[in-house]
Amino acid sequence: MGQVTVRVQEAPFDLAAESAALAAGRTDIGGLASFVGLCRADDGLAALVLEHYPGMTERAIARIAAEACARWPLSGCTVIHRVGRLAPGAPIVLVLTASTHRAAALESCAFLIDWLKTGAPFWKREEFAGGRDRWVEAKSADDAAAARWSAPPPDGGT
């Protein structure tokens, strides 16, 4: 199984440093795929506040990452998810996958972000100017995106 790094943190992450760490000292990696999710300023959003379930979050992500390593021949993968208050434009989540072949890197990257959306215990609350706020509702489109990876999820996650 590849090198798996999972972190939940308030601090920003460094895409270049994480890529370098994943590829360090190796000459068998043909492709590095990454996805960075960013906070959009939809509807006049002032901030996004991310809450999670400490302990379960890391378990859930590690299980999803292990599933990715089982499905694709990965040299490694890195998942970093931020929590706390994030401003519009701020990066929220990083998924980084490395493999000998590009298709494995690209597909596992898409798999990981699809499953993170539906299988890890994070909740987003949107704060707007003037003090109004609301919890983001789960999207059926996200369930559909996760479900397209046909086989059942790593856990019984909905």
Partner: protein
């Protein structure tokens, strides 16, 4: 039994976690939800629509018929919205 609440479930219940000792007939996740909903108006509001609530037992997602016991950590929360 330790019970945790997250997101708007936590806001409605009014607390983030509590120790509870339900009677022995509360044997699974669905039974625990029904019992908790009778503990306060906040609990009642949080669990008013069971279809909007997800659960975890010992930090794994759990279905309504999953057994729960005194030593378990059970969490209730809305469908997740990370990523």
């Amino acid at each position: 039994m330790r019970v945790l609440y997250f997101a708007w479930v936590r806001q409605k219940v009014g607390i983030a976690e509590e120790e509870v000792a339900p009677p022995p007939e509360v044997a699974d996740v669905a039974g625990l939800m029904a019992w908790l909903s009778r503990q306060s108006p906040g609990h009642a509001a949080a669990f008013a629509n069971a279809g909007q609530i997800r659960a975890a037992v010992n930090q794994d997602f759990a279905a309504p018929d999953q057994p729960v016991g005194p030593a378990d950590e059970v969490a209730f929360f809305p469908p997740v919205t990370g990523g």
